[in-house]
């Protein structure tokens, strides 16, 4: 890797600060008692405690998945604290009562919590360690019947809705990390768009891990009833610690007839330092159920952070004519490892799915795309188009593609295209000879490479993602 390219990549992580705030942190360790403690703290109804305990029992019998193309020391689940929360006043009547230290933290992260200065037209639920600390624009959304609040609040205020949908897309025993999450999840966002309502603004959750030895296990549930439409954004950051933190989230989406859910993520968890020390283990299960006819679920993700990413946002296309989409940019640098992709499960007739995955690997990182396209015998006329492109920067990084295709209906059409390219010295020299710096050249090449994904992102996110990539890869080229 040339020095020009090397110099380009190494900008520091700018969200790596720690907020000094008095927190309540549960003792480390996981047992039934821990789960009862979490449930009691949240005044949860008995059915939810049962849900948790059932998941815990399932988890105890499971083993960690060995198939991902990632390597890490065995996680000691007894060395993690499963609950950490900033000490809050019991009930906040307005944003002015939020701890000023927290307000400052989120302002620094570019997520102001005061509605008067909030991101224009975006309602935000803010999760700090294990709890939601604020949700903006709640009242305005309630006017059109939209429920947007923290999961803890939803459990208490809208138990019938939570009970009806929780765990219906990702059952408690679905996989190792989803089972763990189902047992110990602490908070997350809940969002319900009633029949026929088009959500007037983008909804957003911002996740922040602050405590050193805690895990973050949040649970998000989004339900769009018949004809409802919503665009949802998720952002994540964490301080730079030399130890690894576990983030095992579960996100479930349900789209009924003619409903449309668009879920966008810009993931920038701390990735560890240039020697691979520290960083978040991001082991996340995300799945949408396109339950109704003509429903549509679209995942867009820009994954730049985390020491290890293990995540496959998927769509179960159950409704006839339903549509599933997955647009992904995954960037790895230094010693980061990513094994990410999607699953498109075609059950209904004439269901369609599109997969566009762009992997960029720099430094000594490893970047894998893993995707499953499954067409069931019932899915007459199903169609899938997959495109997986990898870009290598330098000569020490790796890109891998693991496509799985299972077709059990002869009328299905499945297409898969893949390419691998490399930013080389000669390309950079060509730019340089036209007066363009290596930094600007790399940013232009990368943005060109990711164009198909970036144009799926809402405007503010697209700008952020573009900057983030430039920042991330500064000095990585070679």
């Amino acid at each position: 890797m040339s020095t020009v390219l090397q110099q380009l990549v190494n900008k520091p992580y700018k969200h790596g600060f720690v907020t000094n705030i008095e927190s309540e942190v549960a003792p480390k360790g996981l047992s039934e008692d821990t789960i009862r403690m979490i449930s009691a703290k949240k005044n949860e109804p008995a059915w939810l405690l049962d849900f948790r305990l059932k998941a815990y029992q399932a988890w105890l019998l499971m083993t960690e998945p060995a198939w991902p193309n990632v390597h890490h020391p065995k996680i000691d689940f007894q060395a993690i604290s499963y609950y950490a929360a900033p000490k809050l006043k019991p009930k906040l009547s307005s944003m002015d009562e939020v701890d000023p230290e927290l307000l400052r933290t989120f302002e620094k992260l570019g997520v102001p919590l005061h509605e008067r200065m909030a991101l224009a037209g975006v309602a935000v639920d803010v999760i700090f360690d294990s709890v939601s600390v604020a949700t903006t624009y709640k009242a305005k959304l309630a006017e059109v019947g939209i429920i947007f609040c923290s999961m803890s609040e939803a459990v208490l205020e809208h138990p019938e809705l939570v009970k009806k949908y929780l765990g219906t897309v990702i059952p408690t025993g679905d996989n190792y990390y989803a089972a763990l999450n189902s047992a110990v999840f602490t908070d997350g966002s809940f969002c319900f768009i009633p029949k026929g309502v088009k959500c007037p603004m983008d909804l957003s959750t911002y996740f922040r891990i602050n405590t050193k030895e805690s895990g973050q296990f949040e649970r998000t549930l989004i339900v769009a009833e018949e004809g409802a439409t919503v665009s949802y954004l998720e952002g994540c950051t964490a301080p730079a610690f030399s130890s690894n933190q576990l983030h095992a989230a579960v996100v479930e989406l349900v789209a009924l007839d003619n409903a449309d859910i668009k879920y966008s993520t810009v993931q920038n968890w701390y990735a560890g330092d240039e020697n691979g020390v520290g960083g978040i283990y991001n082991f996340v299960t995300k799945r949408g159920l396109a339950k109704g006819v003509n429903s549509r679920i679209s995942w867009t993700q820009v994954e730049t952070g985390s020491a290890i990413t293990w995540k496959y946002p998927s769509v179960i296309l159950r409704g006839d004519n339903s549509v599933g989409e997955f647009y992904s940019v995954a960037v790895t640098n230094h010693h980061q490892q990513a094994d990410t992709g999607t699953k498109m499960i075609h059950l209904g007739k004439n269901t369609r799915s599109t997969i566009v995955s762009k992997g960029i690997s720099a430094g000594q990182s490893s970047n894998s795309y893993r995707g499953l396209v499954k067409v069931a015998p019932t899915a007459t006329g199903a169609r899938n188009y997959s495109q997986c492109d990898s870009m290598l920067i330098g000569d020490k990084s790796g890109a891998h593609t693991f496509p799985y295709i299972q077709v059990r209906n002869p009328t299905a059409q499945v297409e898969h295209e893949a390419s691998t390219s490399k930013i080389g010295e000669d390309q950079l020299f060509y730019f340089a000879q036209r007066g363009i710096s290596a930094e600007a050249a790399v940013s232009m090449i990368i943005n060109g490479f990711c164009k198909d994904v970036f144009q799926q992102l809402p405007m503010e996110f697209a700008v952020e993602a573009t900057q983030l990539l430039g920042f991330k890869l500064e000095g990585a080229v070679g």
Partner: protein, 269 residues
């Protein structure tokens, strides 16, 4: 055009350069004044393209001795992009493909970077579109080329036209055109040559690296240099190119060796 007392644009003195430890340029001298057109000819492997790349600052080559003054500045001390910004342009022999980056976007960034450097106004996408379309007419290029990725899927001739388009946009002080004629059919050669001729002014200069006389029928050089084994062994006027076309390079080489022997004998006598 040779003008008496025209200022020196670039002065290459005793230049030696190597790649991966192999010496390619060996004690090369070349002086180019404003307004002049120089042709550099020579057999394959004589170091013509290396000279072009070394002057542009390609990082794969190491300069081991010699100096290059460009308008009074030490060119060798400058980064490739700084050389470009001060007016050195290399028309590539094999223009590289850049998938995903629209030609229009690339051309505009390059143009605006130079404009900013020269203290001139930058153009927004709409203004630039008008501007670049005018230049494309001169090269008989279809506006479709603006929307395509840089050089991706271009034919050999299209790539070369795209290079000259960049020369037209950037208005360099010194344009080094590395085998711009290779891969061009007769019509394309005529169009590209006409483009280059329109860009030659008394203030700038052109170095043409070529194998063939046919280019020099269209762009008439003031000087023709013959390179062999990393240095210039003969310099003449435009007639030299015609003679090379007729007789090949061997006689120049023989003449050079004979002169070398004569010098050695003189010294020993």
């Amino acid at each position: 055009m040779i003008t008496p007392n025209s200022p020196v644009l670039i002065d290459v003195h005793g230049l030696c350069a190597s790649i991966n430890g192999v010496d390619i340029l060996k004690d090369l001298d070349l002086t180019v004044r404003r307004g002049e057109v120089h042709a550099i000819m020579g057999p394959n492997g004589s170091g013509k393209s290396t000279l072009a790349k070394v002057l542009a600052g390609h990082t794969a080559y190491a300069v081991t001795a010699g100096t290059v003054q460009f308008e009074g500045q030490d060119l060798l001390a400058m980064a490739p992009e700084a050389r470009a910004l001060s007016g050195v342009f290399l028309g590539f022999q094999y223009p590289i493909e850049i998938p995903g980056v629209a030609n229009s976007q690339f051309l505009r960034l390059s143009y605006n970077t130079l404009q900013a450097q020269r203290g001139h106004e930058e153009l927004d996408p709409l203004e630039f579109d008008d501007f670049v379309r005018e230049k494309m007419k001169m090269l008989e290029m279809s506006p479709d080329f603006l929307d395509r990725s840089v050089n991706e899927g271009f034919s050999g001739g299209e790539k070369k036209r795209n290079e000259i388009l960049q020369m037209a946009l950037l208005e360099p002080r010194l344009a080094i055109l590395d085998e711009t004629d290779s891969g061009l059919d007769i019509d394309a050669l005529r169009i590209v040559s006409r483009g280059v001729n329109q860009l030659i002014t008394p203030d700038n200069a052109v170095i043409l690296v070529t194998h063939y006389q046919r280019l020099l029928n269209h762009i008439v050089p003031d000087f023709v240099h013959v390179m062999e084994a990393g240095r210039i062994i003969k310099t003449g006027g435009k007639e030299l190119a015609l003679e090379l076309e007729k007789r090949g390079y061997d006689w120049v080489s023989a003449e050079h060796e004979a002169a070398g022997r004569a010098r050695t004998q003189e010294v020993s006598a």
